[in-house]
């Protein structure tokens, strides 16, 4: 076996700050073998991106980097700008997380790729340009010749990420560092990009260091994985070992906290209490100790070193690893599970319970404007183009789809409680079209909302007592009742009632989302509209919020409209699901049916694109790849809107295709409580 291409030894990164130095990376050591894929998994703030930037020498000048980074035996730390510039992009390249801001907006993509070529090779502008086109073809950009002259803003997120990959492989590097390359993308696009990365790896023979927070993404892609927590690698090993036999409580917790697309189990998720520590003045001992159920005296005194366990190259930094190893403990053995939520209303009674929310043929179009200075209308975005759904009492409807499918627009349209452009919105039996201002205000009591980003949804200038008091005051609750109700609400969502004087910034992300939920519950609504309520939260915190939502619904008899792009969470929490594509519903029905045997090709592709944190399963899963990007909602295809990307359509002969082109399919029943809008619907198991 040849020597590793990248060796990182005891890497430390410190940012000097007024409040005390922040040590973001606290001594990490790893090897990256040639052609290997190493995944580094960690939650936000764990130091994974900083460690990658330190390897590249791209940290700001104020950062203090210690330790050693050897690229093919050559020391990188301490090199000056000129020496590093000669290596970057040629021997070691990087793909950044946010493809939106990672490309210079004022140069064409072809120019930017050609620039990467010309920095390192003495070639003509013409040759560099044709190499750029070649690279764009390699990463799967259609019409590469013409698209090379286009500017970054003319590309979709997925296409921009392809451009960044093209740029990274322009000089056949030995190492590619990919920092959350798919985080900002939808699942079907994520599947495409992972595929492009595989192609890129084959074309260049590079080793890949893949940084992500998503255990699923790495399961099928990496050979080895390292779990990072509070600036250290706490567990490393082959993917099969780490996923199959985790020996560090944090890894166990992470794996247990993920809702699974392939499991219909209704049990509560494993919650990890507390939040990651602040990296300023870390106390001695294991940084995970405050959150660890297995903690004992030694954990608080000495930080455990990474030691081999199991004899197959797995390393774990935990004093209790041997206990876990001996008992072969599972997540549920280590983390105490909360009480299972009381049994939900039986789904069979669906038809008998009263309807809380009904949307019929809901339409929302808005003008498409172009230009920042020269604004003009160039078309109509058919964001929501005739969708119908209903939610019955005590029920959760999951509205899912990829970005731009219109799910958030539909949700906002419901919340407006105003007459829609077409169709009807009926809340608790009252048609929104026939409400006057006073009635609308009164009805708002019954319909409340929780948004995605808890930091953005709480006014940073108001203390929690004001935040929670606002809906009460608005609806005329007497002042003397308010204080008591605020305490009651905080207790209800599992926060300490005496925290009502604090400001939102003084809470962690998960706690803020609990406050937002408490605010939504203040007026005792009957319907809660949830817009991606957990997607801004880290995995370990997400589980607690999901459990809380489950619990509240059962206890308070609420109904949820749960809008999300994460199908796994929806499977866990919803009774019924509606899948949206380009402003229309593709499929709807009972969760067990739609996930178990999806009938619409789009649902099938979506479900097959979601990675599962089980390496063996991931490696053998067959993915249904979708071609290209979704069409613009300003110009949807004729007939079936999905046909341009539909794998089934592609396989049909011309005679059968005509129907897809000419006739828009309506939702039709395919099975008991399952409807799909496809002319050739055919249930199929994909997970």
């Amino acid at each position: 076996m040849s020597s590793p291409v990248l060796q990182v030894r005891d890497l430390r990164v410190t940012f000097p700050a007024a409040a005390g130095d922040v040590t973001a990376v606290r001594g990490i050591t790893y090897d990256l073998a040639r052609r290997e894929v190493l995944g580094i998994v960690g939650e936000s703030g764990s130091g994974k991106t900083v460690s990658a930037l330190a390897v590249m020498g791209l940290l700001p000048e104020t950062a203090r980097v210690e330790g050693s980074v050897l690229l093919d035996g050559e020391e990188l730390t301490g090199c000056d700008d000129r020496e590093l510039a000669a290596l970057r992009g040629r021997r070691i390249a990087m793909i950044f997380q946010d493809p939106l801001s990672a490309l210079t907006p004022v140069y064409s993509v072809g120019y930017q790729i050609a620039e990467a070529v010309r920095v390192h090779r003495d070639v003509s502008a013409r040759a560099a340009r044709s190499r750029a086109v070649e690279l764009l073809e390699l990463v799967g950009i259609p019409h590469a010749q013409q698209r090379a002259s286009a500017f970054p803003h003319e590309f979709s997120g997925g296409m921009r990420q392809r451009v960044l990959i093209a740029m990274a492989i322009a000089n056949d590097p030995d190492v590619i560092i990919a920092d959350e390359p798919t985080t900002a993308l939808d699942v079907t696009i994520q599947a495409q990009i992972l595929d492009v990365l595989r192609t890129a790896r084959e074309a260049t023979g590079a080793a890949i260091l893949m940084i992500t927070h998503d255990l699923g993404v790495i399961a099928g892609f990496a050979n080895r994985v390292a779990v990072m927590y509070a600036g250290r690698l706490v567990e490393t090993g082959s993917v099969d070992d780490v996923y199959g036999r985790p020996r560090m409580p944090y890894t166990l917790g992470l794996l247990g906290a993920i809702p699974r697309i392939d499991e219909s189990g209704r049990g509560p998720l494993v919650p990890i209490e507390g939040t990651p520590p602040s990296l300023v003045d870390l106390p001695p001992g294991c940084p995970f100790a405050p959150r660890c159920p297995l903690v004992y005296d030694r954990c608080l005194e000495v930080e455990p070193a990474a030691l081999p366990i199991g004899g197959r190259g797995q390393h774990t930094a935990c004093h209790r690893a041997s206990v876990i190893e001996e008992g072969d403990l599972r997540p549920a053995d280590v983390f105490p599970l909360p009480q299972a939520a009381p049994a939900r209303a039986s789904p069979d009674a669906h038809g008998e319970r009263p309807v809380v929310l009904a949307a019929e043929g809901l339409v929302k179009h808005h003008p498409l404007l172009r230009g920042a200075v020269f604004k003009r209308r160039v078309g109509t975005v058919r964001a929501v183009d005739g969708i119908s759904f209903e939610i019955r009492e005590g029920e959760t409807l999951g509205l899912v789809g990829e970005s731009g499918c219109g799910k958030t627009t539909a949700l906002l349209q419901v919340l407006e409680l105003r007459p829609p452009q077409a169709g009807r919105v009926v809340v608790l039996g009252r048609d929104a079209a026939h409400l006057d201002a006073r009635e609308r205000r009164a009805l708002r009591r019954d319909v409340q909302v929780v948004f995605q980003d808890p930091l953005a949804s709480l006014d940073p200038r108001l203390p929690v007592s004001e935040v929670l008091g606002e809906p009460l005051r608005t609806h005329g609750v007497p002042a003397q009742r308010i204080a008591a109700r605020v305490r009651e609400l905080l207790g209800l969502v599992g926060l300490a009632p005496d925290h009502s004087g604090r400001y939102p910034q003084q809470f962690s992300g998960g706690e803020r989302q609990r406050i937002a939920i408490a605010r939504a519950l203040a007026l005792e609504p009957r319907l809660l509209v949830l817009d991606e309520p957990v997607s801004a939260l880290d995995v370990s915190i997400r589980a607690g919020v999901v459990n809380l939502l489950e619990d509240l619904r059962a206890r308070l008899g609420l109904s949820y409209l749960f809008v999300a792009h994460d199908l796994s969470v929806v499977r866990h929490i919803a009774d019924r699901v509606a899948v949206m594509y380009l402003g229309r519903l593709a499929e709807t029905g009972k969760v067990e049916r739609v996930y178990g045997a999806p009938a619409h090709p789009y649902t099938q592709a979506l479900l097959s694109a979601i990675p599962v944190p089980v390496p063996a399963l991931e490696r053998r899963r067959r993915r249904i790849m979708l071609e290209g990007d979704p069409p613009s909602p300003a110009d949807p295809p004729s007939g079936c809107r999905f046909r341009t990307r539909c794998p089934k359509f592609a396989a049909l002969d011309d005679g059968l295709r005509r129907r897809c082109i000419e006739e828009e399919p309506a939702l039709a029943t395919v099975a008991d409580d399952q409807q799909a809008a496809c002319h050739y619907a055919e249930p199929m198991q994909v997970v």
Partner: protein, 327 residues
Amino acid sequence: MVKFLLRRLANSLVLVGIAASLAYLLAASALNPRSNFEGRNPAPPKAVVDRRLDELNLNDETPVVQRYARWASGVAHGDFGRTWDGTSVTAEMRRRIGVSLRLLLIATIVGGVLGVLAGAWGATRQYRVSDHAITLLSFVILSIPVFVLAVLLEIAAVGFNNAIGVRLFEYTGEFTPGLTGGFWVQLGDRLRHLVLPSLTLVLGEIAIFSRYQRNAMLDVLGQDFVRTAMAKGLRRRTALLKHALRTALIPAATFFAYNFGLLLVGATFTEKIFGWHGMGEWFVDSVTSNDVNAVAAVSCFAAVLVLVAGLLSDLAYALLDPRIRVS
């Protein structure tokens, strides 16, 4: 794009019309030309005064709407009326516009370019001595009102002239009247007159543009694409020049329009103090002498300039930023 520019141009014309009308109406009701006669000894008979005022369309006893109508129909035919002493406003304007534009152009171009460079350079050396020096200097200059700066420069020039014993810098008028000599002598004379007024405006422009560009540049420096440029092997300096500065020029284009109004006011002071017979000096004199038609004409000129600056900055924006170019 062309259609769009035309629409914008039409919109601007309407705005100029309204702004000029507003200026005329304000001037016609606030200024009182009749008072110019009141101080005279012996006081002219009222009938004579009225006749003279009627002749000039300045009689405050005529309803203001009527005076406006007469003025507006004249303007529509390119006639801005008569000044207080009976000469044509249009002809006077023709004489003065060039003088003002020369000053404004020099200030904008020289000040803008040097300011952008100074700001960008300061940003790349953030918090070093040179950055602090530029920052402090621009703060000091920004804090000196134009009319103080002009006088200070004048004092300095007098001191300098005295020290070298030659009258190198001139500080009244834009040329020496009655100077004989060939082209080069005339040119040299004009240049010697030009230095101080230009410097007065240019210094302020450099200061304000450097502050703005420094901030625009700092916004861009932290962005991902600069890091991408370095990740593909560009050296820091190259990445900053090619990717950061180029992108940071975009907001400077809009700033140009914002700043132009201030520059106009500065030019007014400069003209008045250095005795340049430009539009600004005329405005100040006309307000003092209750010369309604001249005041309205200068206001109209100012409105046109501000809107032209706005159009130019939009055009520059479109040229610099592919995101807003409409295909």
